[in-house]
């Protein structure tokens, strides 16, 4: 119903509506049973509901902008989150000192613990909202990448503070151990993910005869990487992302087209289902007797979340802009700060807290923050984006020419870096590509004697799409002199060729061009123009060309 009624998505993001539905459901259950409705079990959330969403995000993440902005994303994710945690924790502790609020028994550690779980930006919520507002790619990838990678920081800090709460004394060695743990968690997650990803790629190399279970491997290995990482107390989200990004390239080359479609649709389906369930559960869990409503604390929590995020973004962007050419404008910064939505991860983490007498206060505060960010920030971000005229996503499809140019630029810059003796971004990218083509592709791709560049892949994709379009429209069976075909042709002649060919052959060539040129401008026929005087049935010929080309490429 939501998607049918066209006006609604422009005003209310889907996540809001889902929470609303959940609230109503929760209210109904409460009304009937007079008892708290079932609360979302943290285990269910972390084991079943979260992985599909993260996998979907990681698999379809455009890797080029992600890696280009990696430095900025990491800065926001790591430093930004730490900044937020300590900022919120300390300021809330300050609030607790005020006698009037009757909060003095909430210790600093408790506040820091609360800060650690509420500070992290949630990928599910961000995805749900940003997907509908279509900001420019760079902005999207910054917020989204940050929300995914800050999981490592959140995990470490949360576990750290939790264990600190149970320890009688804390010395600086423990703090140092905490810092070291962060690196272990983050890098360990990446390693686990990559290992599983490469294993998955390797496995799909041998699945030529059993195409049916190919999609299974994709999901299986990703889930395994998540579980393994969580088992070793590493960051599961980072692992799954590393796995998805690592295996994507090789798996897509190895598995059949049908498997690829299956993987794509299943992933989208699972993540949609998870998404919906999470938000409904969130709504349901809000109603009930789980809350202690200490309004000053809650209000200040919300305020501090906003304030500290804004400050954090401002300060960090200041640093980023000094080192980067492509600066992040003020408008972008606002959207980044405003797009820091909290979601279900905080919610589950707060339920996982050990029972102490102020737990319900924290639950209440978390709920309010989440509802606030999702509803108010989620709903108003779209009009704000329009109002501020933030640069939107370019809605054009990729062209082969663009691919060629970008690739050319890459090589050029790598070459210049080599010449100037400077080990920069392009140098390392080049090195990675070289390593990839020499070793990895041989091991992981089935037809390793035919590595394909992205230019070729894109060209093939466009060709294939176009051939399917044509076949469906029945064009291939048409008589040659179809007026539509003749209208849109561009004849390219080679100057030198004109001199050597006689006009008859030239005429023939033009006729062939006219007949075999397809409707859209994106594809170009490839055939031996020089030696096609008299030919067979044109439609059959065109079909033959298609088949030949696909085999050849």
């Amino acid at each position: 119903g939501f998607h049918l009624y066209n006006k609604l998505p422009s005003v209310v993001p889907e996540s809001c509506l889902l929470i609303f539905v959940g609230l109503i459901m929760g209210g109904i259950i409460y009304g009937f049973n007079d008892r708290s409705p079932p609360v979302m079990d943290s285990d269910i959330f972390f084991l079943y509901l979260l992985p599909p969403i993260v996998l979907d995000a990681g698999y379809f993440m455009p890797s080029r902008p992600f890696f280009e902005n990696m430095g900025t994303i990491l800065l926001y994710a790591v430093v930004g989150t730490v900044w937020n945690v300590f900022g919120i924790g300390f300021s809330l502790y300050g609030i607790c000192q005020v006698k009037a609020f009757r909060l003095q028994d909430v210790s600093l550690l408790h506040n820091l613990l609360f800060g650690s779980l509420i500070a992290a930006v949630d990928p599910v919520a961000v995805l749900a909202v940003f997907e509908e507002i279509h900001v420019n790619e760079k902005l999207h990838i910054l917020v989204f990448g940050e929300s995914l990678l800050n999981d490592a920081v959140t995990v470490v800090l949360y576990k750290l503070f939790r264990s600190f709460c149970e320890m009688p004394t804390i010395n600086s060695l423990d703090v140092l151990a905490g810092v070291g743990k962060f690196f272990v968690v983050g890098l360990g997650g990446v390693l686990v993910g990559l290992t599983f990803g490469l294993t998955a790629a390797f496995t799909t190399r041998f699945t030529k005869d059993i195409r049916v279970i190919e999609p299974l491997f994709v999901f299986l290995y990703s889930y395994l990487s998540y579980l393994t990482a969580e088992m070793f107390h590493l960051s599961g989200i980072v692992a799954i992302i590393a796995c998805a990004m690592g295996m994507k390239r090789y798996v897509e080359a190895n598995i059949s087209l049908k498997s690829h479609t299956t993987v794509k649709y299943f992933m989208k389906m699972w993540s949609s289902v998870s998404d919906t369930l999470i938000f409904i559960f969130l709504g349901v869990s809000t109603i009930g007797e789980n809350h202690e409503w200490n309004w000053p604390y809650i209000c200040f929590t919300v305020i501090f979340c906003l304030v500290w995020r804004a400050l954090g973004v401002l300060v960090l962007t200041f640093f980023v802009n000094r080192f980067h050419v492509n600066s992040i404008t003020g408008k972008d910064q606002f959207i980044i700060a405003y797009g820091g939505l909290r979601g279900a991860i905080c919610f589950s983490l707060v339920f996982l807290l050990p029972d102490f007498h102020r737990k319900k206060l924290f639950i209440a505060a978390t709920t309010v923050v989440i509802l606030f960010t999702v509803f108010i920030q989620g709903m108003t971000i779209r009009p704000l984006v329009d109002l501020l005229a933030v640069k939107r996503k370019r809605e054009s499809a990729p062209t082969v020419g663009e691919q060629i140019h970008i690739r050319f630029l890459d090589h050029l810059l790598a070459g210049i870096e080599d010449i100037s003796g400077h080990w920069g971004q392009y140098y390392w990218k080049d090195k990675l590509e070289y390593f990839n083509s020499k070793y990895l592709q041989k091991m992981l791709l089935r037809e390793y004697d035919q590595p394909k560049s992205s230019i070729v892949l894109l060209y093939e994709k466009l060709e294939r799409k176009h051939a399917i379009e044509l076949a469906e429209a029945g064009q291939l069976g048409h008589a040659p002199h179809h007026p539509a075909l003749l209208n849109n042709r561009a004849v390219i002649t080679d100057k030198r060729l004109e001199d050597t060919l006689n006009p008859d052959v030239l005429d023939n060539m033009q006729e062939i061009l006219a007949r075999n040129l397809y409707r859209t401008r994106r594809t170009g026929p490839a055939y031996n123009r020089h030696t096609l005087p008299g030919d067979s049935e044109p439609a059959e010929h065109a079909k033959e060309i298609l088949i030949l080309r696909h085999r050849g490429l």
Partner: protein, 215 residues
């Protein structure tokens, strides 16, 4: 050490922006130049062979060629120079400057055009001011030359397809008898409109130890 005299062209408004190649960077490049030229005053094409990593670059030929292209060196004549001195080396390197924060619209536009002109010269190898189909094919072939198993036909067909795309972007609907000669610089500008080249095409010159494995 050689005295580095920063040439007049680099410090005046001959470049489209106030000088951003700092003296530190010039020093670094000068050291690199000396290494490449084996302490001579000029370098020739052969000197570029001593850079090991450049060998794997598919468009190596074009890059080296660009250093000696007189159009890039802002000399009035056409054709290729035989050797270049440090001044010329710097001139080429200056095409890869990062943009300045305080550039206005006009300066940015000129900046962008300069970089695109450099690229255009790389595509247009016969210096006639147009990128013909053959030249475009040549570019694509070189780009894809890293794959030894890719047939030449495929590279050619891709180039043909891209050329047709370019034709439709630049000229739009063409009548049945029109012939598309080649991509001129204005068309080239149109093609690159979607890509923000002023931020992509730059190398960050940090002060680093030059890599000593050039032999």
């Amino acid at each position: 050490a050689l005295q580095v005299v920063v040439p007049q062209e680099l410090t005046s408004h001959h470049l489209s922006a106030p000088p951003t190649v700092t003296s530190e960077q010039i020093e670094h490049l000068h050291r690199r130049f000396k290494q490449l030229s084996r302490d001579q005053l000029t370098i020739r094409k052969e000197n570029f062979d001593s850079i090991p990593d450049l060998e794997f670059n598919p468009i190596r030929g074009k890059i080296v060629h660009a250093f000696f292209d007189k159009r890039n060196l802002r000399q009035e004549s056409e054709g290729l120079a035989d050797e270049i001195n440090f001044e010329d080396f710097l001139t080429i390197m200056s095409y890869f400057r990062p943009i300045e924060m305080n550039m206005d619209e006009e300066q940015l536009d000129r900046f962008r055009k300069e970089k695109l002109k450099f690229l255009f010269h790389m595509y247009d190898s016969d210096h006639d001011g147009k990128i013909t189909l053959q030249e475009y094919r040549n570019v694509v072939e070189e780009l894809l030359s890293g794959n030894p198993h890719l047939e030449k036909e495929s590279a050619r067909s891709i180039a043909d397809g891209a050329m047709m795309e370019a034709a439709s972007i630049c000229v739009g609907q063409m009548g049945p008898d029109q012939v598309y000669e080649g991509i001129t610089f204005e068309d080239f500008l149109k093609m690159w409109q979607g890509i923000d080249i002023e931020t992509k095409m730059h190398v960050r010159f940090l002060t680093m130890e030059t890599i000593a494995h050039c032999y």
